[in-house]
């Protein structure tokens, strides 16, 4: 199994982003995704900066993939998407069906990202015919669900035509809205947000009135309050999963990548998950719960 570093979901200053990806080159990640996936107003790195950064990182021993936005609301955002798709060199993670449309028109191979509704083998078959090379399963799906899909793909004879990637560590994107919840948390309107999400490099933790951390607010994206961690479930991914994704919150991601690499190569004793960690979705229970 390969390890991937998912796209950075938060808004960081340009220098921090560039430093982060220089470090990523020396990390255990086999695949690195990068690009703005949350909000088109975040322009510390403009589209052309992301593309040139990605190209710079390419051919240095890692597979580099450009990630696209999940929610496209304006024609200008479709234009940006086109720019990404026409980069001429790198494959693209499609996070909206619109991206699949453009990429298949251009015959650019693509990764179907976790924000696309793909729940069965018939959809995968259609996407494979359009150029999908890898599928990142929606975060809410379980091992059982995946096993059934894999078996259906095998029965239909196309399982070998694409890879399967599972979001295994990090705060999970759970919803996308027109509203910016970070701006709202500062009593600002989205149009006057002053890009305040740059002040929260790991998003804004949100708790119930009993102090249970239920969400992380990240602009228009709502993330899980707990950190997903499938470190103990890697053995159950054997034969089903090709790529294991870690979603970075900071440079700690590189330590976690190392831990996952060790777990994959030599095996490790089960780890007790921290109180703010969870693994529920994989076990087909509530996402925020922990089994085992």
């Amino acid at each position: 199994m390969k390890l991937s570093l998912g796209p950075l979901l938060y808004y960081w200053p340009k220098q921090n982003v560039e430093d982060f990806y220089q470090q990523a080159l020396n990390s255990e990640a086999d695949v690195i995704y990068l690009g703005e996936t949350v909000c088109s107003k975040r322009r510390e790195l403009k589209t052309r900066d992301w593309i040139s950064l990605a190209k710079e990182l390419n051919n240095q021993g890692k597979e580099i993939v450009l990630s696209s936005m999940a929610l496209l609301e304006a024609p200008s955002e479709v234009k940006v998407l086109k720019q990404l798709c026409e980069n001429g060199e790198l494959s693209v993670e499609a996070n909206d069906v619109g991206a699949i449309q453009l990429l298949s028109e251009l015959k650019v191979p693509f990764v179907c990202g976790p924000a696309i509704n793909c729940y069965n083998a018939s959809v995968l078959k259609i996407f494979v015919n359009k150029g999908m090379q890898r599928w990142v399963m929606p975060v809410e799906l379980s091992r059982d669900w995946l096993a059934k899909i894999v078996s259906d793909c095998e029965d239909s004879g196309f399982r070998s035509q694409f890879e399967i990637e599972v979001f295994a560590h990090g705060f999970m994107p759970l919803a996308y809205s027109a509203r910016c919840f970070t701006a709202r948390s500062e009593n600002k309107a989205k149009d006057d947000c002053e890009l305040c999400c740059i002040k929260y490099p790991q998003g804004r933790p949100t708790t119930t009135q009993e102090d249970q951390q239920v969400f992380i607010l990240n602009g228009i994206q709502t993330q899980s309050g707990y950190c997903y961690n499938l470190i103990n479930d890697l053995p159950s991914m054997q034969g089903l999963v090709n790529v294991v994704r870690l979603s970075p919150s900071d440079t700690q991601a590189f330590t976690i990548l190392k831990q996952y690499r060790d777990a994959l190569s030599v095996g490790i004793d089960p780890v007790k998950l921290a109180t703010k960690e969870c693994n529920g979705f994989w076990h087909q229970i509530a996402g925020l719960q922990t089994q085992g």
Binding site: A70, L71, L72, E73, P75, V78, L81, V97, G98, A99, Q101, A115, N117, C118, Y119, N120, A121, S122, V123, I126, P138, E140, W145, K148, I149, M172, L174, A175, Y176, S177, A178, R179, C180, F181, R184, S185, A189, K190, D191, R204, P205, T206, T207, T208, Q209, E210, D211, Q212, V214, F215, L217, T222, S224, G280, F281, I285, A286, G287, L288, Q289
Partner: protein
């Protein structure tokens, strides 16, 4: 402009038609639709009666098949499409690409509407569904501003339907896993958000508590009106500031925006609420019928009447309404 009303039961369907709906949308009694609630929706016998009633009155019937086919369960979604055709429904509202593919290939004459759960918000996504499945109408997610709706309408020849009234879903529909994060069940997987079986109410010293799968959603004092604990409408703390971090309990109401929707070439206004009673359907349908007729009779003089607003406020969540994402300031 078509007035499209919800019908979770045969009485609601008849009420909607009697009160002036141009079309109604319904779901089957299983998890192929996103209002898969006990006591709701149509079994085979009721389907036939419902379809008969709609067609006897020369109105249109849309069938919502708007969840995603489970591996191993595809047959249910295919059956739903077959039934829709057998009934002579005017359109199937579909979200799942596999189900669209089945319907488009097997029944090229069946009119396909892209469900809001497919979350198509841009021309490229619309092109995908149009070119691959010959979709004839797209229901827009409630994440676009009216400006964005107009832009989209200018840039596509696809007929567009919008949500005009009802419970406000503040996330891009079909791409929200908050409910399964809390409970293990989501609109996409089981056809329900914040399912009722996980809801608990408890009187405590601190007030009346609403919980979803034991997670505290809100606490109400004696003078506060308690609402259903849809998890995105709870009160949460951000940095010691307690507020409705995502959204207040409120309903979408676009009555004041009707002229703009007409000018944006919107072909149909959809009323949310298949889970609501026939009484709700009656009140909403009458008000919207009156509003559309009043606009048509005299577009320049169109004005929302106070009595319409008060009827709608009465059936709204928390008795409040909003223009939601249509209005930039809400965002």
């Amino acid at each position: 402009m078509e007035l499209l009303c919800p019908a979770g039961s045969l009485p609601a369907l008849k009420t909607a038609i009697d009160c002036g709906a141009d079309a109604v949308y319904i779901g089957l009694k299983d998890d192929t639709n996103a209002r898969h609630f006990a006591g709701l929706n149509f079994n085979d016998k009721k389907l036939v009666k419902g379809a008969q009633y709609v067609h006897d009155h020369n109105k249109h019937l849309h069938v919502a098949i708007n969840t995603f086919a489970h591996p191993g369960g595809e047959k249910r979604w295919k059956n739903a499409v077959d039934k829709c055709v057998d009934l002579g429904a005017n359109a199937a509202i579909i979200a799942d690409i596999a189900t669209l593919d089945y319907a488009a290939n097997k029944y090229p004459d069946l009119e396909l509407h892209l469900s809001v759960q497919a979350s198509a918000t841009n021309t490229a996504a619309i092109d995908f569904y149009q070119q691959n499945f010959n979709v004839k109408r797209v229901v827009l997610p409630r994440v676009l501003s009216i400006q964005q709706v107009k832009q989209l309408s200018r840039n596509t020849d696809m007929p567009l339907e919008v949500f005009a009234f009802g419970s406000l879903c503040i996330m891009a529909e079909g791409r929200c896993y908050l409910s399964s994060y809390f409970t293990g069940e989501s609109p996409n997987t089981v056809g329900a958000c914040s399912p009722a079986k996980y809801v608990r109410w408890r009187e405590t010293d601190k007030g009346l508590e609403s919980r979803l799968n034991d997670i505290l959603i809100d606490r109400y004092q004696a003078d506060e009106k308690a609402g259903y604990p849809t998890l995105c409408k709870g009160k949460f703390n951000v940095d010691n500031n307690l507020y409705h971090a995502l959204e207040e309990p409120t309903s979408l109401n676009t009555l004041s925006m009707l002229p703009e929707l007409v000018k944006a070439n919107i072909c149909s206004v959809k009323i949310e609420g298949r889970q609501r009673s026939p009484a709700y359907v009656e009140q909403i349908t009458k008000v919207w019928r009156a509003a559309i007729d009043s606009y048509k009779a005299n577009p320049d003089q169109y004005q929302v009447k106070d009595e319409w607003d008060s009827v709608l406020a009465n059936v709204s969540e928390g008795s409040q309404t909003t223009l939601g994402a249509y209005h930039r300031k809400w965002q």
